[in-house]
């Protein structure tokens, strides 16, 4: 294809947008809305994941050490646990410290524990990166054999994993639904444009235009609509996400401020979001154009 033809076809594509400006505006609006929801879905999903990770990091596995285990063996066990890939932190609490903790917890009734200094066991309080994958840790604990009991918040771990999976599944379903809606809407716009130019398309076919020559202006129309929508959606997302972050940061609710601390940063995810929006807008626009033209190219 010659350069002059490419210039001519690009001009025709842009002209189409202007001729069908009402439908073009509607398409840009709806696609922007879809991309905006998509952006929020991505950011909220990332924030929830980050929050889940934070909560997981806060949950402790407690390993109560038997009284007969020597200090030397305890030190060896500490080194072995810290060498575990999933372990992010370990605090060793001696029998004495355990007693003091309990006494402190009872406050002014701490005197009730007098004479029980030797009752509370020493322990390891261990934090892990991923609560759903502690098989290596369990095996190591069994091998070291220093504990009389182990407290693992398994129900809580399972709940966290379920929530995270649900958020991921919801995000995938939402993204697929939004892409389908966008393709349908843009297809209708392009279809209106194709219908308005059916005589031209018929003449093009009759004088021997190739299918690609006919397609290109409509593909350009779809792509430009997609890119404008992507730009608009990113601007709106940037503005509204900043507003949301600010209002959460200023909230008195511990839950909201906790969520705020773990919110995904748009600054960090900017490149990723721009890439998603631009490719999403472009691909949606192009697919819609190709689908709309199919029946007209059969002649």
């Amino acid at each position: 294809m010659k350069g002059s033809s490419i210039g001519y076809l690009s001009k025709e594509g842009l002209k189409n947008i202007w001729i069908n400006r009402l439908m073009s505006v509607a398409s840009v609006g709806i696609l922007s809305a879809c991309l905006l929801i998509l952006g929020f879905t991505i950011l909220i999903s990332a924030s929830l994941n980050s929050m889940m990770k934070y909560i997981e990091g806060q949950v402790e596995i407690v390993l109560f050490i038997r009284d007969d285990v020597s200090e030397e063996k305890i030190e060896q066990a500490r080194g072995a646990f810290l060498g575990c890939e999933n372990v992010t932190g370990l605090i060793h609490t001696t029998k004495q410290e355990a007693f003091l903790e309990q006494q402190e917890a009872l406050g002014d009734k701490g005197y009730l524990l007098t004479g029980l200094e030797d009752v509370f066991p020493a322990s390891f309080r261990i934090t892990v990166e991923n609560l759903s994958d502690i098989s290596e840790f369990r095996a190591l604990a069994g091998q070291l054999d220093i504990h009389e009991a182990m407290r693992i918040p398994e129900d809580f771990a399972n709940t966290l994993v379920n929530i995270r999976n649900a958020v991921s599944s919801f995000s995938i379903v939402a993204i697929i639904a939004l892409v389908i809606i966008s393709v349908i809407v843009i297809s209708n716009t392009i279809r209106a444009s194709v219908f308005a130019r059916r005589t031209e398309i018929g003449i093009m076919k009759q004088v021997g235009a190739t299918d690609n020559f006919i397609r290109i202006p409509f593909i350009i129309e779809g792509a430009v609509i997609g890119l404008i929508a992507a730009g608009l959606a990113f601007g709106l997302l940037h503005f509204s996400y900043a507003q949301l972050s600010n209002s959460m940061g200023l909230s008195n609710s511990p839950f909201l401020t906790g969520f705020f601390d773990n919110m995904a940063s748009l600054e960090v995810m900017r490149g990723q979001i721009i890439l998603y929006f631009a490719s999403g807008g472009l691909v949606t626009g192009v697919i819609s154009s190709v689908l709309s033209l199919r029946s007209y190219l059969k002649v």
């Binding site: 294809m1 010659k2 002059s4 033809s5 001519y8 005589t199 031209e200 018929g202 003449i203 093009m204 076919k205 009759q206 004088v207 021997g208 235009a209 190739t210 020559f213 002649v299």
Partner: protein
């Protein structure tokens, strides 16, 4: 140029439009095709432009065996056949120059060639002074001449005109046919003109194919009779 051998065409609803039709048109000929409505003229044109395929038989146009023509070769074939329609099919939003240039742009000609070739073709149809006018500003006869110019612009060896005088005044009809005959003799373009206006055929005379009830019932030369 055109070769139909034992062509039968049956529509999906079972109606047989052409029944075992055979005909040949040589290079450089001017042929009238006449027949009443529903006789099979339009079906024959659809076969000649490869809008549809015959139910049986063989259609060869400009050396292309249309029954075996692959989809990717269709544009190349269509560039060898110029089409003129009763309803002109001009693009209302384009002026005369752009309407003619359209077929050249579609077939990948350079802007430079378009700038020089379109005025030449417009001169051929005597519309060189109306290049900037829009279809709505032209008479029916002028619009048809623009359509002929558009078909001629890509220099096809064969021009098929489907009732080109059907939407214009009788006086202007003669001018249009006169123009087509001039193109035929000066440019050597083979022309097949479908019409139901028997007096136009009698006025100009020449080879005439009459189709009735899906069959060719006459194929011969009609003498010229310059009275209408």
């Amino acid at each position: 140029m055109i070769d139909l051998k034992n062509v039968t065409f049956v529509y999906d609803n079972g109606f047989t439009a052409l029944k075992n039709v055979s005909l040949s048109v040589a290079k450089g000929e001017f042929v009238f095709v006449i027949g009443s409505s529903g006789a099979g003229k339009s079906s024959m044109l659809k076969l000649l432009t490869r809008e549809t395929l015959p139910t049986s038989g063989k259609v060869v146009v400009n050396g292309f065996n249309l029954g075996q023509l692959k989809r990717k070769h269709l544009p190349k074939f269509r560039r060898s056949v110029g089409m003129v329609f009763q309803d002109f099919r001009l693009i209302k939003t384009m002026n005369v120059f752009d309407n003619v240039a359209f077929s050249l742009r579609v077939t990948n000609h350079s802007s430079r060639f378009i700038r020089t070739h379109v005025p030449y073709v417009l001169k051929l149809v005597q519309l060189e002074d109306k290049a900037k006018m829009y279809p709505r500003e032209l008479s029916g006869g002028e619009q048809q001449r623009v359509a002929i110019a558009r078909a001629l612009a890509i220099d096809p060896p064969l021009l098929v005109a489907d009732e080109p005088t059907g939407n214009i005044d009788p006086e202007l009809s003669l001018q249009i046919v006169e123009l087509l005959r001039r193109i035929n003799s000066y440019c050597g373009t083979t022309i097949m003109m479908v019409t139901h206006e028997h007096d136009v055929v009698r006025y100009f005379g020449g080879r005439t194919i009459s189709i009735e009830d899906g069959k060719i019932d006459y194929d011969g030369v009609i003498n010229k009779n310059n009275r209408r």
